[in-house]
Symmetry: none
Amino acid sequence: MKKPRRVSLSTQIVQELTKKIETGDWPIQTKIPTEAQLTEQFEVSRNTVREALQSLIQAGLLESKAGDGTYVIAANKFEANMYHELGKADYQEIAEARQLLEKNLAFLAAKKRTEEDLIAMEVALERRNNPAFTLEELALKDIDYHIEIAKAAHNSIMLDVYQSISTYLFQLIFDHMQQDVTFNHDDSQQLHIELFDAIKARDSKLAETIVGKISSY
Amino acid sequence: MKKPRRVSLSTQIVQELTKKIETGDWPIQTKIPTEAQLTEQFEVSRNTVREALQSLIQAGLLESKAGDGTYVIAANKFEANMYHELGKADYQEIAEARQLLEKNLAFLAAKKRTEEDLIAMEVALERRNNPAFTLEELALKDIDYHIEIAKAAHNSIMLDVYQSISTYLFQLIFDHMQQDVTFNHDDSQQLHIELFDAIKARDSKLAETIVGKISSY
DNA sequence: TTCCATTTGTTCGTATGTATG
DNA sequence: CCATACATACGAACAAATGGA
């Protein structure tokens, strides 16, 4: 039915641009190349470029300003929907949403993780384990690890949601670590290893519990 | 700010066509005039007509078939959402995300609901309670009720996430009710009343458990 | 402030490809 | 096979908004 054997040029451009945005190649607020430049770059007419841009504007990923340029305003569709809300969401709300989502994701991951997921998680876990890291670096690696768990949950909606707020998580986790004078690198790593083991053992309840401990650490 | 002093031709055409559709002048399944005819009728180019049609197709009001014609498939945007079909895989993911989010929201609502929230929930609960409702109507009221619970959770992020997927929930809930031959209106309402009571009593664990029962009903 | 180059917005005309009945 | 109708793509022109000189 909806199987166009040949993907339209504008669709191809949409895919290329989406990739740039989602991989962070073009972070939020980036001013993307002008229509004329994209026309040259993709070797298509301006109309075709505009059609692709229209799709992304419609999806809420881009915003264009006449006489100025076109800007990235969201990294994915969920973020596009929550674009307005997140900015004014307060700290407590983000922290609360984070804990709930991480519990949900750990629960799902324990049920659905594959061997490949375990490998990816282990790599991220290892990267996280460097006592020489500053708190800043640790916070970043921490988010990476939790995103791997989110991927292991095999639910693209929940993954999107988590990735959307992960932008805001950095500051949150960083502050959390910094304010907690009792924060201990090894203890933290130990808890994350336990979480990995629980997911590996497919113990969803335990995984959920451990996330609770990590968040309220 | 967003005050274009001159409405574009395609926008004007969108408005004209929308009027035809919403007033019932062009009922559902009507085959609308061809692009060539609309071109003549509005005295604009075919491109401009197509741009307008694209908007309405995107909005879900129209559907076009190459070599055949363009048809009205929904009378308004809300109805258009109902026709929004989802892939089988997405369907499962949405169902999963729905259950998790509703549990989270009920949990939070039980902890943070105010007296005003209870009143709003009670109103939505009462609206839901009409044995004469078709399953379609019931599904709509059901979503309304759960959105009230989401509001009572007092977390704008979680509310936003839930509202984002609620667009897709209608079809899901509707199918769920329809496929379940044991579905009983009174039993369902009873469970929803129990959920209300649990939130009123601030029993977050019980609220979460009841949502689990409702989802797996 | 005005003016101007840049960039997006709108519209047209045309050509060719693809799907339907 | 064929006429019809939508799908895709190109090129061109001018309007309107913006930001900076």
